[in-house]
Structures are given as structure tokens and as C-alpha cells.
């Protein structure tokens, strides 16, 4: 049985200033599945997430959302309004009434509980990203959209963040739509890859996408090889009972 369908996009096309940015993209997002969008710069990755979140609504094609679909969103570039005095606690309660316990739990997951009383304008970029990632988990989201959540985060932080995204999916049973430039790091957690370059070059399981000629043309053999290595680890983990402790990677 397939997981509950949360969002179906059919033949999405979008053009800005007569330049085609997206060309007939179709895909489905299902509960508790992680979908990763990869593609070169200018491939239309952020445009696609903006259509999913409702930021762009003058596109062609169709989007069907499950009724009452709740979305948590972490934009790629977070503009901090330094003109408004705002504590982290208040930021987390901006649109939903999360309890103290829920807020503490969410911040603990991204490791920033100590920021609770700080003013948002005093946070560094990395701190703000973690706070906003925690924020996406509040209010029982059905779908979390993360646009390059690891941009500006160091490599060890990156691996930890992808592990966290996997944990969130399991805990919240929500769908995750992730934009990433490094498929090899998200590999083991991803259920569906959308390889985008204006049109949908290929899509499906990570292993099959990584062998697809269009993927190889875009990212080269080296990327495919590194994915093969991670894929091996992935298989190995399953052999020993799917124990995702995260220590076995090295």
C-alpha cells in the first residue's frame, strides 16, 4: 500500500521575463517520504519549491494539495528583519500556539535550546537557520519544505542536519521536500530524487537516478561514483538491522 498522497503536481510550467524556468514538471509527495530536488544553478529548484509553498501562483499546470495541508518552510536565504524586536520564543509562536514543551523539544532537536530568550536580530546566520529549522517542525506540519538547509553550514554540521531531517520524518510522519546540491550526502535518507534542469531530467530512487545518462551528463561520473559508495553504506546498514546510529559512516 502506498503512503497517503499529500501533493500532486501535474505539468507545472513557469516562465519569467519570457525565459522558461520550469517545463512541464510532474511529481507526487507522499507522507513520511523524503523527496530531494537536485540540479545545477538556475535549474529552477527554488522556483519549484516556491510553487509548492504557494509563493508563486501564476504558473501553468496544476497543483492538488491534500485538504488542510500544513506546510513548514525554511527558505534558502533568510532575511532577518532587524527593525522588529523579536525573541526566538516569539518567533517560534508567530503563527501557531506551540506549548513550552513542544518548543523546548524542537529547539533541542536542532541543538539550540540556549537561544530561546535571545533576540532574533542578534543571531548568526547558522543559529538562525537552526532556529527556523526547529520552527518548521511546530504546528504538526504535513509537509516540510527545506530549500538548501545546509548552505553556510560546515560539513560535519551538514551530515548531522541530514540525519536530523531523517529523524524528523520518522518522528513527525511528515513528507519532506528538500533542495540540495549534494546528492551523495542525502542519499541514504532519500526516497525519491527529482533531477531538475528546467525540465525533469529523471526521477526515481537515488540509485537509479545516479546511473541515469542525463544525471551523469549534469553531474559527471565522479558524483555518480561517490553516490555508489554511499549507497553501499546504505545497503550495509540495512543488513545489520537498519540501526541508524550514525557512527558507522566512518
Amino acid at each position: 500500500m502506498q503512503a497517503e498522497l499529500l501533493l500532486r503536481a501535474s505539468n507545472l510550467s513557469y516562465a519569467a521575463a519570457k525565459r522558461v524556468i520550469l517545463d512541464r514538471i510532474s511529481f507526487e509527495l507522499r507522507r513520511a517520504q523524503i523527496t530531494t530536488i537536485i540540479g545545477p544553478n538556475g535549474a529552477g529548484k527554488s522556483t519549484l519549491t516556491n510553487i509548492v509553498t504557494g509563493l508563486i501562483n501564476n504558473f501553468d499546470g496544476e497543483i492538488e494539495r491534500a485538504p488542510g495541508l500544513r506546510i513548514g518552510y525554511l527558505p534558502q536565504k533568510v532575511y532577518v528583519n532587524t527593525l522588529m524586536p523579536l525573541s526566538v520564543l516569539r518567533l517560534l509562536r508567530l503563527t501557531h500556539n506551540a506549548s513550552d514543551r513542544e518548543i523546548e523539544h524542537a529547539l533541542a532537536q536542532t541543538g539550540v535550546t540556549y537561544l530561546l530568550q535571545r533576540q532574533v536580530r542578534s543571531l548568526s546566520e547558522g543559529e538562525l537557520k537552526r532556529v527556523l529549522l526547529a520552527r518548521t517542525t511546530l504546528g504538526q506540519p504535513d509537509l516540510i519544505v527545506l530549500d538548501e538547509p545546509t548552505a553556510g553550514v560546515d560539513v560535519s554540521g551538514e551530515i548531522r542536519m541530514y540525519e536530523l531531517i531523517g529523524e524528523l520524518r520518522t518522528e513527525l510522519q511528515c513528507a519532506v521536500l528538500l533542495v540540495s546540491h549534494d546528492l551523495h550526502l542525502v542519499m541514504s535518507k532519500t526516497d525519491q530524487v527529482l533531477c531538475l534542469n528546467q525540465h525533469l531530467c529523471c526521477s526515481g530512487l537515488p540509485e537509479s537516478v545516479s546511473q541515469h545518462p542525463e544525471y551523469l551528463a549534469l553531474f559527471g561520473q565522479q558524483a555518480a561514483d561517490s553516490i555508489a559508495i554511499y549507497a553501499h553504506h546504505h545497503d550495509h546498514e540495512h543488513d545489520v538491522g537498519g540501526d541508524h546510529t550514525g557512527h558507522r559512516h566512518d
Binding site: N50, T53, I71, Y73, N81, S87, L91, L94
Partner: protein, 281 residues
Amino acid sequence: MMLAAIIRATGMTEWLDDFLVRSVIAGLIMVAIAAPMGCLMVWQRLAFLSDTLGHAAVMGVGLGLLLEVTPVFGVLAVALVIVFSLNRVNSFNSALSETTLAIISHTGLAGGIILVGLLPAQTVNLEAILFGDLLATTSADLTRLLITTVVLLLLLLHHWRSFVAVSVSREIAQAEGIEVRKVQLLMYIMIALLVAVMMKVMGVLLIAAMLVIPTTSARLFSRSPEQMVAVSALYGLGALAGGISSSFHFDWQTGPAIVVSATLLLLVTLAITRIFRSHLE
């Protein structure tokens, strides 16, 4: 005209006949609405829009007088035309273009002054339009100001959460189901209403000052959005008190006197926070 009935019934008529009482009440009402609206406009970087609408309001005054309707309705009509056009051309992500606003602002002012100049000299007091004339507040002005303020305050209370969320991040607010474009249009319409009624008190050239200066003082030590609104209102009260009393005692023009008082309060606050901080270090 329930308000008029209440005023008569409570024997406030005579009291309201005093021009000073009327102007103090008008000033208090203005402070009450300028604080929350000013904060929202500063957060969303819309302060310049109020300036534009204010300048273009001169055109509205001229049109109103030419068509022989109350000038405030001419102002409101012009302000609404501008905000609806801006809402159409403004894309989701970009802030309003300063160039566009400057062109509208100065064309409105220039066109308005030509229009007003065409009218017989005694029909218009250009100085009162530009700098306000709080001490000449009539009961009709007061009623309009009060009704508009109540409407604006109710809208603010009802939509406050959305307004704050949109101010923090339009993208996140939209993704979480807030209809950002509708909120934005509502905000624009509210600013148009605000400008139309504040014009009487502050004059078209000084409206933005009353929205920005007390807010800036409040921002220096506020810890939450609501606190900033409350503290802005206190600074607004201080500026009003300083403005009206200096106007009364030294015969200064009220609008400019309010603005100068607000800036003096800002400078004092800046100095105090400086000293306070250097003591902490």
C-alpha cells in the same frame, strides 16, 4: 450621529467648544493610531509610502476643492488610486521601488500645488495643508478622526498576528497559509485611510515623521513587537504634549512643533542608552 447625541446628552458640548480641548483630543486619537501603524510600516519598510501618499494628498485636496467635496475625500480617493496601482505593479518579493514612490510623491505635490493655485486665494490655506493645523480642529474633523481610528484599531486587532508574521518573513508566512497578498493590500488601504485623517493634524509633509520618529525611539530598547507599539505611543504622547504646549506658549506651528519635540525625545533617548551601555561595559 450617535456620537453627537452622546456628546449632547453628557453635556460635553460646551467643553468641546473649546478649541484647545478639541485639538488635544484629536492629538491623542492620532497618537493612538500612529503608534501601531507606524511600527508596522517601519517593520515592513513602508514609511516612505506614507510620505508619498502625503505629498500626493495635495493633489487630492485640490481635486476635492475643485469638485466641491470635503477635501479629505479627495485625499482618500487619490491615496486609494495610488495604493491599488502600487499593489498591481508590486511583485511579491521586491520592496516598493524608491524611484517609483519618489516620482508619484513629487508629481502629486507639484500637480496639487498647481491645482490649488488655480482656486480663488481665500478658499485654501496652503500652509495648513502642508504643515497641519491641529488648533483649528472642528467637531466634524474630530468625528472623522475618531471613526477612522476605531475602524483601523479593530482591523489591527483582528489581523495583528498576520501583520506581524508578514513583517517577519513574507515567504514563511505565505507557506504557512497566510494570504500575504491580501494582507499587503489591506495594509496599503489602511495606510491610505491613515494618511487621509492624519493630514488635518500633521499636514501632508509631516505625517511620516509622526509615524517614524517615536517608533525609532521605542525600538532602541523594546524586546517585543507589542512593547515597541506601547512605547511608541508613550513617545507620541510626549511629542504631542511638547508640541501643543510650545505651540500655545511660543506661538509655534503645532505640526512642526510636534515633530521637533519627537526628535528631541529621540536624541535624549539615544544619549541615555549610550551612557547606560557604556556603564555596563
